[in-house]
């Protein structure tokens, strides 16, 4: 695949190597797990592109296979509890806006037990980078269906097939009006690296869904879309300012009537005049929403940056509000808030009744 990002983040001013981000703790994922690729790309991407010193990076995770991530990064890290990483990260970022805070979560952690926190952290636009590692299965608990598993999924907990309709992670993110939304896949390190670098460069909340292959409990679940042999026909790589075109022969495009998308055969419409032009900066969420609705097999599955817009961040506004009040009222002094105008004095002449108040 040869995708050149429209706005490639520039090189890091630090002279880090990938090893600077390797903690040295034994990595304990199953052999062949997609998480290895994600970890490796993350370490490499930070070494190459980060604008933040290593000691100012913090990785926060919940519970699940992917949530072991912080242990393997030679940064500050906090492996917390199931589903709550966005809440802890929000508090950390509000207290310490100087830090670059990453949240690593999975489809169960982020969308099932922690769905509430994820939504609220996205809608507040806290300046966090959230990686949702989606393998459509519960791996750590050994193979139950997850909220992103397809309906009818046969697992240990659903021997007759799951009857849950799956949740669409990017659709949740767009509904919460997240300011940066992207999708990438563990089997394409180059695309993943570019996507992570863009997520890190975005000011505001960044939400990246990473298709990840659970080799033990849900092997090849994305193979139909991301497999080498047919991904050019089934995946759509988004490039800002370019028309939505895919296919081995670059002969298929996407157009829309504003409500739904459809595939156009370009060999019949060579002028491409009504194709959708990808605009990741569209302030309205409608277009990005249309993209989230493109699912295999009816449509090609989009990868890349769906949306990237600027909006004041929660942590920044919290900081500014404090500053504004200090500017208006002056830095508070304890004396002035204890000794208000409603005080009264009791003189020495009054005999003590026996010790006064406790």
């Amino acid at each position: 695949m040869s995708v050149v990002p429209s706005a490639s983040p520039t090189a890091s001013p630090f002279h880090y190597t990938k090893d600077d981000f390797v903690s040295g703790q034994d990595v304990r994922w199953c052999p062949g797990c997609g998480d290895y690729a994600i970890l490796s790309v993350m370490q490499k991407t930070l070494a190459d592109t980060t604008k933040t010193a290593r000691e100012n990076h913090v990785f926060i995770s919940g519970i699940g296979c992917s949530s072991r991530f912080p242990y393997y990064m030679n940064t500050y890290g906090f492996h917390t509890i199931h589903g709550r990483a966005p809440a802890i990260a929000t508090g950390l970022k509000c207290a310490r806006p100087d830090l670059t805070v990453w949240v690593v979560t999975g489809d169960g952690d982020g969308l099932s037990i922690g769905g509430n926190h994820l939504i609220h952290c996205l809608r507040r636009n806290v300046d966090l980078n959230i990686l949702l590692v989606n393998n459509k299965i519960y791996g750590l608990t050994k193979g139950q269906y997850s909220p992103t598993s397809e309906k009818g999924k046969v697992t240990k907990s659903t021997p007759y097939g799951s009857i849950d309709y799956p949740i669409n992670p990017l659709c949740i993110a767009i509904a919460a009006e997240a300011t940066f939304i992207a999708r990438t896949v563990d089997s394409d390190p180059r695309h993943m690296g570019q996507t992570l670098a863009k997520a890190a460069a975005h000011k505001g909340v960044s939400f990246v869904e990473i298709y990840q292959n659970c080799i033990i409990f849900n092997k090849d679940t994305f193979q139909d879309v991301t497999g080498r042999e047919h991904r050019e026909d089934r995946a759509l790589y988004l490039e800002h300012g370019k028309p939505l075109i895919f296919g081995k022969e670059k002969n298929k495009g996407i157009r829309s009537d504003g409500f739904k998308t459809e595939i156009v055969d370009l060999s019949e419409d060579e002028e491409h005049k009504d194709l959708l032009i990808h605009n990741e900066n569209d302030p309205s969420p409608n277009y990005a929403y249309l993209l989230t609705q493109m699912e295999y097999p009816e449509m090609p599955v989009p990868f890349g940056v769906f949306r990237s817009i600027e909006k004041p961040t929660y942590d920044e506004m919290m900081e500014e509000q404090v500053k504004a009040v200090i500017e208006k009222k002056g830095l508070g002094r304890l004396e002035e808030i204890l000794y208000t105008e409603d005080i009264w004095k009791v003189g020495e002449l009054v005999p003590s009744g026996g010790g006064g108040k406790k």
């Binding site: 903690s23 703790q25 010193a53 290593r54 000691e55 100012n56 990076h57 926060i60 519970i63 912080p70 242990y71 990064m73 030679n74 940064t75 500050y76 906090f78 492996h79 917390t80 509890i81 709550r84 966005p86 809440a87 802890i88 990260a89 929000t90 508090g91 950390l92 970022k93 509000c94 207290a95 310490r96 100087d98 830090l99 509430n116 926190h117 939504i119 609220h120 919290m318 404090v322 200090i326 208006k328 830095l331 508070g332 304890l334 004396e335 808030i337 204890l338 000794y339 208000t340 409603d342 005080i343 009264w344 004095k345 009791v346 009054v350 009744g353 026996g354 006064g356 108040k357 406790k358």
Partner: protein, 622 residues
Amino acid sequence: MSTTLIEKELESVTIRFAGDSGDGMQLTGDQFTDTSALMGNDIATLPDFPAEIRAPQGTLPGVSSFQIQFSHTEIFTPGDAPDVLVVMNPAALRVNLRDLVKGGLVVVNSDSFHEDNLKKAGWKSNPLEDNTLRDYAVLKVPFSSLTKNALEGSKLKLSEVDRCKNFFALGLTFWMYGRSLDHTIRWIGEKFAKKPEFVEANVMALKAGYNYGDITETLPSRYIIKKAEILPGTYRKISGNEATALGIIAVTHLTGKDVLYGTYPITPASDILHELSKRKNFRVKTFQAEDEIAACGAALGASFGGQIGITATSGPGVCLKSEMINLAVMAELPLVILDIQRGGPSTGLPTKTEQADLLQAMFGRNGDSPVAIVAASTPSDSFHFVIEAVRIAVEYMTPVFFLSDGYIANSSEPWRLPKIADLKPIHISHPKTSEGPFLPFVRDEQTLARPWAIPGTPGLEHRIGGIEKADKTGGVSYDPDNHHRMTELRREKIRRIADSLPPVEVLGEKNGKILVLGWGGTYGAIHAAVTQLQKEGKKVSACHLNYLNPFQKNLGEVLKSFETILIPEINMGNLLFLIRAEFSAVGGSASGGEGVHAVGYNRVTGQPFKIKEIRQKIESLL
């Protein structure tokens, strides 16, 4: 006119204002309290309001009341029973009459005693006309029509005029006890600054009520309660929630750090958030989270970042936060959890007081998970103990519960203000460098606290989490002996907090037959009951705990010096359980054993103890 007016001196008076939720009784009570405090009386208050936002008008569930005792002598409770009951409608009379002392005065808004209201309140006949009030002095005042007359020509709508009647009632009580109108007039001016017509109307109603007292001949005397004889100093009126908020602000001053206050609105804790959110210039960041869990998580995140993380809630919220608190136990990070207790279980009695979360704070988590627990015992000492909670949290790298309750939170008393210079700074240090690899779980020899290294420090990058840690290195460890050792270390660390605590004090003789042991909001009633009995020559002592885990070091010795330990609690025996567990229920000095003989006195009515209830219980044991 008032030529025959007699002024009588009284030691103390307890007055209760009661009316419909929409009648402004809390506001009326607050104003009476503020003025009494500013006039130098000792005060104690008991607001009591329904959980419903506004139950149907005139009904029993809609009754809201506010009781205040104001006094020339030192007092410790809002009074067992009101001497004076001011009621705005028949429902308020029905709910509150049983509490009024026999011979007490009931002031009624006679306008509201019409058939419709009487029916709603379940009165079969008009209590103002039958024998219901024969044991009481009754003053019937047509508050509504007198207010309407006084405001004739006002620009207000008729319904708005009627809403001023609480100020008429307040004015009348101000006259009865020789109170100044100045504070309330100033308050009305500020409160309605943008609506001058409301200022005018409410001040007119207040003055009309006052003048009514002056001219009516049905009130032959007014009562004088002289300034209280209390310790010299500078005082202000304070409620428990206000003192807690001020304590949190003081923490920024004493630690030099910002506070992140993460919370989710819940009765009766929300007022702390309201107070703090106004004080952003004091370096307190408030975060109203999406739920209780996130509120606690945000506080813990701030704490990981090296700031002071505080979360607040009531019992139901503690249930939700418990997993996060346990993470703080495991990660050994400071965290302060304020639990403003209310009646439980479940949603329970949201606006009523109880102290039944002690065992929840102590044990409500999975695994062996010790935390420190402190409790306020009066509105004003909330200030001190929330600071203590932070001190312990950062000195010992542990979560600390601060327990208050609905009664402490909402009631008010005069607070002798501390001198700023007397408040002890809380020293916090973060490691800056490390010789060799940084080891996040190497402990301070004395406190067993681990180092609080914070993100942004080059060279100290490390990972922590909820999985068991290897001793010293902090790496993930499933080693059996390591788990045992770490469990012991976590327990020992909490025990060592006792090294930093002052000894418990005993009120009265240091040994004898009965020691009344209390904790939290029962302080006032226990102190008053025991003091009264001691004055009568009875052999009884008292001791009140603010540190619930660990206990202060001399507690065992104190308890063992008494034959019986009586533990009154507004729960079914939380402290009793802990005392029996810690000091062995077997034996007791009465039977020659080494242990402690403890008995409970347990009442859960949603109300604080009355002095007389405690007295009677003690007397039954003497």
